[in-house]
């Protein structure tokens, strides 16, 4: 019995918390806080971006390549990918020479002429600055 009451109290608390969260979600949804429908100007993406030792280059035609000088890789040795940017969703499909594709999907959070930020669903964030 004691155990049952404990569960009911827990459920109530949970329900209260749930309701509170629902209210917050509704409020935040109203102010578009979690909206993933951000649109970025993909033309700003063209060019070479640097994050630490990692480089990414985006060409306007939807191709690009990436390399990391930390691993003693030069730009000439960079690996290719294709990319799309739909709203805030950046999709990179990395082409393997052997014929396979490795898709990577990111959410862009910032794209300016000098700054480019995105992250994936597993909480990995990247911040790039534009290389001249």
């Amino acid at each position: 019995m004691k155990k049952t009451n404990y569960i009911i109290q827990k459920a109530r608390k949970g329900l209260q918390v749930g309701l509170l969260i629902c209210c917050l979600v509704l409020l935040m949804g109203g102010c578009d806080l979690f909206s993933h429908d951000d649109k970025f100007d993909k033309t700003l993406l063209s060019g070479k971006w640097l994050s630490g030792t990692l480089y990414e280059y985006y060409a306007p035609d939807g191709t690009g390549y990436t390399w990391d000088i930390l691993d003693d890789v030069t730009e000439e040795e960079a690996q290719p990918f294709t990319w799309t940017l739909e709203n805030a969703t950046l999709t990179q499909i990395h082409k393997m020479e052997m014929g396979g594709n490795v898709p990577k999907v990111y959410t862009v959070t910032k794209l300016t002429a000098t700054t480019f930020e995105y992250h994936d669903d597993y909480g990995k964030y990247y911040t790039f600055t534009k290389e001249q």
């Binding site: 990391d68 890789v73 690996q79 393997m96 052997m98 014929g99 396979g100 597993y122």
Partner: protein
């Protein structure tokens, strides 16, 4: 001459008659000079038909003591005649004679005890009708008395008498100046018999016509002892000495200031100019010549008919040659120097005229001779020879060399015999010669390419050659030759760089030849045999030695400079050894043929037994070797293969190669290859290396562009192997043709770390279709491997290789390349069928890193894994370059009851009775850098269904989610490090992923990506 003699005798008779008449008158009537002279002059008409005058006639006792004689002064006989220059027939300043007048008148016998003329002149002339001015005696046609006058000359002398003779009919003239004449003999009827001597200061005889024959001599002493019949026939012994004799015909001097002496038993018919000479000994400038025979001149045409036998003493050639008129020998001897003692004996037969020359034959003995010729580079000394000479100036003159021996260049002996045809024209020599020669003495005659010659040679030469003195002699004049030579201790030095040695070398040369075994225009046939031949390059980096060498060679015409050299030879050796720098080779019983059509095209046919040797520390051996090849030389090519463009068919058996620093032996049991710069066809190549044993067939192309560094060496090969140790094979080809920069990097890496990565061969584009029963790589053995292997310029590709091992059936497509030492590319597409998961992890441990969850399952699965990455020089992965995609399809798996499963089961409230079997499992995975993303897949265990997805990083941090769909919807997040995982119950993340009607956009995108991954993976799978 007979005319002159006749005229002289007639003149002498006439003079004698005048003297007799004078003496008779003197004796009968008058003794005073004036009266005697008057009487003689008056009575002369009774005896003479010409004018006759004597200034004084007196008796003398002192001049003819003890007998009384007449002394006449200024005796003149004149008989003018047309054409004659002077009408004086005879003039004598003083004439003394004593004779028996009574005997003369009574017995018609004139015994002239003493008769002399002093300081006189005789001028004899015969006109064109043959009338002589000396026919001045009165002849009485009525005198039929049988008694004829006879004359007995006891002592007749003439001193300082000039005699001139001119025959207008025969165009002959003769002059004797200051002649002293002594005559003793008898004259009866037409027979003169006695002894006569003539000494003249000068004698001249000439033809006054176009013959331009001239003879002259000084201090002429002639004696004749014999008869003179009918003023025509001479039979006696003639001796003559003439100083400074000149005999000239036209401009040709047959004698030119020479001293002559002649003694001969002469029988002559002067009217027919026929002379029979016996015991004739002619001495011309101390050169003796004995002559017997006849000479006759045809008076109608001046042809001289000869039938003479002659024999000389030992003549000095150098003294004789200048005597020979140039007209006889032309300039044949101009370029010759010939000396020594020569003796000739032979005949001169035939006619000498403007159009004919007599045949001269001679046995010639030549001793202590010396011979040199301008264009003949050899001088001959100590020559001794016997020759038969046949000198036929009208036709062909020949010499037979019966024997000839000589030395040349001091110590080289030669002998010869044979014939020389057409001696005075373009000679044709047929010579058999032998020589014992020191080769170094003939260095200047031998090819200048050889700078040193040593050794002795016994040479036999049988040759036919032509020689035209008008042209320079050269070896081209040799028309046929058979030369056999044996060389002892031969030592040659070629261009100061190649020494050729043979202690015993036999050479047999024949040219020209008629056989055509090689169709190269065979001209010279050379057989060369030697038990030992050695060739050394200097400094002695290269040495070739042969034993029992036999060459049977042909060349085209070496003497024709307009054609290129062609050479063909059959060869056979017992053994050939070659040492060149660090290369050593020994060839047992090599034999075959070699044909050089020109310096650009050559053919080789070679077979041998064992060939063994080493190149540096690499050793090779073959039991048999057979080559058929040809080369076509091309100018302007630096590479040897391109320059000679060889086409070779090679077969060898039971060959082995031991490479330096490689423990394993490369064995080639059988090799059959056709090679040319365009294509190499491996008809059969069984090769073993270490534990590997392969058979290769196929073609290799692109050799020429490869050699020009303009293309890759292309191969299309079939490789069948029972066993292949890839570790050994990779070590063998590691770094082959790699760029220098890469090799340097590899050396640097090896220096730092003790090892360097495998470098794929460069410069080749080889496609191998492989069928391998068993292959070892690292520690793993693969079975039944079939597929294609490409090696292309530093890139290794395994394409759709089917293979099996104890874990699975596999298909592998892989690529490995080495652009630089710290940036190695590795990519593969690995498709494993029906693999035992535990074996998979054991076989590829990296799978556990990429898919750690896999070790939670047991059973068989289909695993498709494609990945690529760049590696460091130590094969460490450059994670920033790592890309991968995998798909796993499993059936009837068992979830292993490990700690993680227990935690999951607890959090998701699994029943304890849950069976941990999985009907199916299908998931897609990507790898990007160090992120491994597992795309959502559905998993059914007993009554539970769940969707699993998530990520783990290669640093072993996890972020997974299990969305339980049945029996309740609940989610479980698994987060944290592998050994400290946190399990957190939450919402089911993909509740509607596999419910199309309820699927959200994001979920749809995920499925699209799964499809994309699967499709691209399947694209690499062989049907």
């Amino acid at each position: 001459m007979k005319k002159g003699l006749k005229i002289g005798l007639i003149s002498f008779g006439s003079l004698l008659a005048v003297i007799i008449i004078t003496a008779a008158i003197l004796l009968l009537h008058i003794f005073s000079p004036s009266k005697l002279a008057k009487i003689v002059n008056d009575q002369a008409d009774r005896f003479l038909t010409c004018d006759f005058h004597i200034d004084n006639v007196g008796l003398t006792f002192f001049k003819t003591f003890p007998k009384v004689g007449l002394d006449l002064e200024n005796v003149v006989l004149k008989n003018p005649q047309n054409g004659i220059v002077s009408d004086t027939l005879l003039y004598a300043k003083s004439c003394v004679a004593s004779l028996n007048i009574r005997d003369l008148l009574k017995n018609k016998h004139a015994e002239i005890n003493d008769f002399s003329l002093t300081d006189g002149l005789v001028n004899l002339y015969i006109d064109e009708q043959g009338n002589g001015n000396f026919n001045v005696f009165v002849t009485n046609p009525d005198d039929t008395s049988s008694e004829k006058y006879t004359i007995d000359l006891q002592k007749v002398k003439a001193n300082n008498l000039d005699v001139r003779y001119l025959n207008a009919q025969t165009k002959q003239k003769a002059i004797a100046k200051e002649a002293d004449v002594t005559v003793k003999g008898t004259f009866a009827e037409n027979l003169i018999d006695g002894h006569a001597e003539v000494d003249a200061k000068t004698v001249l005889f000439a033809m006054a016509d176009s013959t331009l024959l001239h003879f002259s001599g000084d201090d002429v002493q002639v004696s004749y002892d014999g008869s003179f019949t009918n003023f025509n026939m001479i039979d006696g012994q003639l001796n003559a000495d003439i100083q400074d004799a000149v005999l000239r015909l036209d401009t040709t001097h047959y004698l030119d200031g020479m001293d002559l002496s002649v003694s001969s038993d002469v029988q002559a018919d002067l009217s027919n100019l026929h002379f029979d000479l016996q015991n004739t000994l002619l001495n011309i400038d101390k050169q003796e010549l004995a002559v017997n025979g006849t000479v006759q001149m045809d008076t109608s045409n001046h042809d001289i008919h000869t039938d003479l036998h002659y024999k000389t003493g030992d003549w000095k050639i150098e003294e004789i040659l200048p005597m020979i008129p140039r007209v006889l020998i032309g300039n044949k001897l101009d370029d010759m120097q010939i000396s020594g003692d020569i003796a000739l004996e032979g005949d001169v037969q035939g006619t000498f005229s403007d159009t004919q020359k007599p045949l001269i034959t001679s046995d010639v003995a030549w001793h202590r001779g010396r011979f040199a010729m301008k264009d003949l580079p050899l001088d001959f000394e100590k020559a001794d020879g016997l020759f038969d000479l046949r000198l036929d100036l009208d036709n062909q003159s020949d010499v037979t060399v019966k024997s000839l021996s000589a030395t040349t260049r001091k110590r080289n002996k030669i002998t010869a015999s044979g014939t020389v045809k057409n001696l005075l024209g373009k000679m044709l020599l047929d010579i058999l010669a032998t020589g014992n020669l020191h080769i170094d003495d003939f260095k200047d005659l031998l090819p200048k390419d050889f700078t040193q010659y040593k050794g002795k040679a016994d040479v036999n030469v049988k040759t036919q050659l032509s020689y035209d003195p008008e042209t320079k002699f050269s070896i081209k004049n040799i028309e046929k030759a058979d030369i056999k030579g044996q060389f002892d201790d031969l030592e040659l030095l070629y261009h100061d760089t190649l020494r050729i040695l043979s202690p015993d070398l036999h050479v047999d040369l024949t040219f020209p030849v008629t056989e055509r075994p090689y169709k190269i225009g065979e001209w010279l046939h050379a057989k060369i045999n030697t038990p030992n031949l050695m060739l050394f390059s200097l400094p002695q980096k290269t040495a070739v030695t042969t034993t029992a060498s036999h060459l049977d060679a042909y060349t085209n015409n070496l003497l024709d400079s307009t054609i290129q050299l062609k050479l063909a030879t059959a060869y056979q050796f017992d053994e050939v050894s070659v040492t060149m720098d660090t290369i050593n080779a020994r060839l047992d019983a090599p034999k075959g043929t070699f044909v050089m059509h020109n310096t650009d095209r050559m053919l080789l046919d070679y077979t041998s037994d064992i060939v063994t040797g080493n190149i540096g520390e690499t050793r090779f051996y073959t039991k048999t070797l057979k080559l058929e090849g040809e080369t076509n030389h091309r100018d302007g090519e630096e590479n040897v293969l391109l320059s000679w463009s060889p086409k070779v068919k090679m077969q060898l058996s039971k060959a082995t190669v031991n490479f330096a620093g490689v423990e394993q032996t490369l064995s080639i049991p059988d090799l059959n290859v056709d090679f040319n710069p365009q294509k190499c066809v491996l008809k059969k190549a069984n090769i073993g290396f270490g534990e590997s044993n392969v058979s290769i067939t196929g073609t290799v192309t692109g050799i020429e562009p490869y050699l020009r560094d303009k293309g890759l060496l292309k191969g299309n090969l079939e490789l069948v192997a029972n066993y292949l140790n890839l570790n050994e094979l990779m070590a063998l080809v590691n770094g082959l043709n790699a760029p220098d920069s890469l090799t340097a990097q590899a050396e640097e890496v090896a220096k730092e770390s003790g090892d360097s990565p495998f470098i794929v061969p460069f410069g080749v584009d080889v496609n191998m279709n492989t069928t391998i029963q068993k292959a070892l790589y690292e520690e793993t053995v693969f079975n039944n491997i079939a597929g294609r292997v490409y090696v292309k310029d530093g890139v290794l590709v395994l394409e759709e290789m089917g293979l099996t091992n104890e874990a699975a059936r596999m298909q592998l497509t892989a690529m490995y390349r080495t652009p630089r030492m710290n940036h190695l590319f590795l990519g593969f597409d690995f498709h494993l069928l029906d693999i035992k998961i535990d074996k998979l992890i054991a076989m590829i441990p990296e799978v556990d890193t990429i898919l750690p969850m896999l070790k939670a399952f047991s059973g068989n699965a289909e695993f498709h894994f494609a990945a690529e990455t760049y590696l460091k020089s130590n094969y460490d992965i450059k994670f920033s370059t790592l890309r991968g995609a995998a798909a796993i399809n499993g059936h009837d798996l068992v979830v292993l009851d490990n700690e993680t499963y227990k935690n999951i089961a607890k959090k998701l409230l699994f029943s304890k009775k849950t069976q941990n079997k999985i009907d199916s499992l299908s998931t897609e995975i990507t790898i990007f850098r160090n992120e491994v993303d597992v795309y959502p897949f559905l998993l059914s265990i007993d009554k539970y269904s769940a969707i699993i997805s998530g990520r783990h990083n290669l640093d072993l941090t996890y972020d997974y989610n299990i969305s339980l769909l049945k029996p309740i919807r609940i989610g479980l997040d698994i987060i944290g490090l592998e050994d400290r995982l946190k399990f957190k119950v939450g919402k089911a993340k993909y509740a509607t992923l596999f419910q199309p009607e309820k699927r959200k956009v994001v979920e749809a995108n995920i499925l699209e990506l799964k499809t994309l991954i699967n499709k691209t993976l399947q694209a690499n799978v062989r049907p």
